[in-house]
């Protein structure tokens, strides 16, 4: 026993430098938010020679960070909501009323996994402008709804584990197909819905490409887009830029702490099932 305990202590010590290197970038930006520009340029790695907190006040005054936060929340919330609903709805007939048509639909949707967003970018840009969806938050939400293909496959996989007798009993009780889905099937999908919501939220919240292409006016910026614009604005004022970065990391960090178990479970479930 003592022998194995000793070995594990060695792991603690061995992992210290690796963990330190992995964490170092975050230490660096956090510590520099409490410095003046000169201090940060002279001693980027050390603790501040004099702690200042004005960067945090300034970042809220000089950038539209709250506005961008609200935009990010709005886009993510509605896009994820629709993605999950559309994906779950699509899976329902495929699993509970499978026939030749639903099988064709499944193969058709499966092709979506192989089509990278980038390959459709040029016509998509034209399409969005033809539909008058450029520079509109609604436009971005509609565009993200194509992410429901991924959720569709997660949902169909999970739905197959729901006993068919459940929905058949409801049919006998006179429940409509619409009613069966919303009242019986959908509530049972809670675990896979949580997984879907987490992964779609991370994708949309972090996405840069689509907001950069389809949102122009600064009042509609998402947080990631805001960071991109600020990078050009604060080229020399590193502490300001780092402060903006740290502030935008706060909601992500909270999400991480709250959801860590679910994220890990989602990765594991997705991986083990393959």
């Amino acid at each position: 026993m003592t022998n194995s305990n000793k070995r594990l202590w060695i792991l603690d010590i061995l992992m210290l430098p690796a963990g330190f290197i992995a964490f170092f970038p975050f230490y660096l930006i956090i510590v520099n938010t409490f410095k003046t520009m000169q201090d940060a340029a002279k001693n980027p790695m050390s603790l501040p020679s004099k702690w200042i907190f004005t960067n945090y006040v300034q970042v809220f005054q000089e950038t539209a960070i709250l506005r961008s936060f609200v935009n990010s929340v709005t886009i993510t919330l509605f896009a994820v909501l629709f993605i999950v609903l559309i994906g779950a709805m699509g899976a329902y007939p495929v699993v509970f009323n499978g026939n030749r048509l639903t099988r064709i639909a499944t193969v058709y949707l499966l092709a979506g996994f192989m089509i990278p967003f980038q390959a459709t970018l040029i016509p998509l840009f034209q399409l969005m402008s033809d539909l008058n969806l450029i520079d509109k938050i609604v436009g971005l939400i509609v565009l993200y709804m194509s992410g429901s293909v991924f959720v569709f496959f997660l949902m169909s996989g999970y739905m197959k584990t729901i006993p068919r007798e459940l929905s058949e009993a409801a049919v006998i009780d006179g429940c409509s197909i619409w009613g069966i889905f919303w009242r019986i099937i959908f509530p049972l999908l809670k675990p896979i819905t949580i997984t879907s919501v987490i992964f779609q939220t991370m994708w949309i919240w972090n996405d840069f490409l689509a907001p950069m292409l389809f949102l122009n006016s600064s009042s509609k910026s998402t947080l990631v887009l805001q960071i991109y614009k600020a990078k050009g604005e604060f080229t020399v004022d590193w502490p300001m830029f780092m402060t903006l970065t740290v502030v935008t990391l706060v909601p992500i960090f909270i999400f991480f702490i709250v959801m860590q178990k679910h994220i890990v479970k989602g990765i594991a479930a997705g991986a083990v099932k393959g």
């Binding site: 792991l11 992995a22 970038p25 980027p44 949707l109 089509i115 490409l209 890990v264 990765i267």
Partner: protein, 294 residues
């Protein structure tokens, strides 16, 4: 309720997803295929079919060939590095040492924020000037002059790969960890009774049983790697020259900035085919490998 009406009601559930997917994924792909044979410039309504001219031009375009070779190099180098690091990391994080949970969180966290943001953070570390953090460390510790981490073609490529590896290794370790935890402990007990060393146990029990995880992890790394954009864009803007231009960035440059729709569409189709070919090849090879091992 007639059987016909019932079937129709069921199909209505499929309608929203089919509509959205057809409009925003399939239609643009077909249109890109069509445009790739034309000289459409985005403005003029009149355009001609030019046959495979755009596909020929891809290989004469320095920016595009550079983007293809960088993207492939980035994808394979990152996939290799992440795999080589994530498997031992997962094995270590599977042991019960004191700071295990702290380390799990530290390695996993970088996979949560946006790649753009992470790359900007690394931009301060890799800044080519003397005030760059890495250059400061090198000067103070080893008295080495400033290195052009993001300005030299090779160093810039390697820097983007290192940052991307740092960002996702923890995530892939978690994936491997899920498989490690599903390996029954008796396998190891039986092996150690038979006198197998710890190293032999890893070689003959752990690694073979991780084969399915590897298939998934490598597939995600390859398809994700080919779509790379944010990390090189944020670190180097694609430079120096076109050295770290990703395929995504070059499609946007030629297609949207310069309005060469035909050329960019041809590039999109080639990109789609590359992704398709690599994905099919990888899954076939690795599944055969899984069967061979088990």
């Amino acid at each position: 309720m007639t059987k016909y009406a019932r079937q129709l009601q069921f199909l209505l559930f499929l309608l929203p997803i089919l509509a959205i997917y057809s409009l925003f994924t399939i239609f643009p792909l077909i249109k890109a295929f069509f445009l790739s044979f034309t000289n459409f410039n985005g403005y003029s309504k009149v355009y001609d079919f030019v046959g495979i001219k755009n596909y020929v031009m891809i290989f004469a375009d320095d920016a595009i060939t550079s983007a293809i070779s960088y993207t492939l190099f980035f994808t394979f180098a990152k996939a290799l590095l992440v795999t080589v690091l994530a498997i031992p990391l997962a094995m270590i994080l599977d042991q019960k040492f004191l700071t295990r949970n702290v380390h799990r969180a530290i390695f996993f966290f970088p996979s949560i924020p946006s790649g753009l943001l992470l790359a900007y953070i690394w931009g301060f570390i890799l800044a080519p000037i003397g005030s760059g953090v890495l250059n400061t460390i090198l000067r103070e510790l080893f008295n080495i002059g400033p290195q052009p981490w993001l300005a030299d073609p090779l160093l810039a490529k390697l820097s983007t790969i290192v940052v991307a590896t740092w960002a996702v290794t923890g995530w892939h370790a978690v994936l491997y960890l899920a498989f490690l935890q599903s390996i029954p402990k008796d396998y190891y007990e039986a092996a150690s009774i038979d006198g197998a060393s710890r190293l032999q146990q890893v070689r003959f029990i752990t690694l073979p049983l991780l084969a399915p995880a590897m298939t998934i992890s490598v597939m995600l790394l390859l398809t994700g790697g080919l779509k790379v954009f944010e990390i090189p864009f944020a670190l180097t803007k694609g430079g120096p020259g076109f050295e770290t231009y990703s395929i995504t960035q070059v499609i946007m440059l030629r297609g949207i900035t310069e309005a060469q729709y035909g050329l960019a569409s041809a590039m999109s189709i080639v990109f789609f085919l590359i992704v398709l070919a690599i994905a099919i090849f990888q899954v076939t090879v690795m599944q055969r490998r899984e069967r061979g091992i088990q």
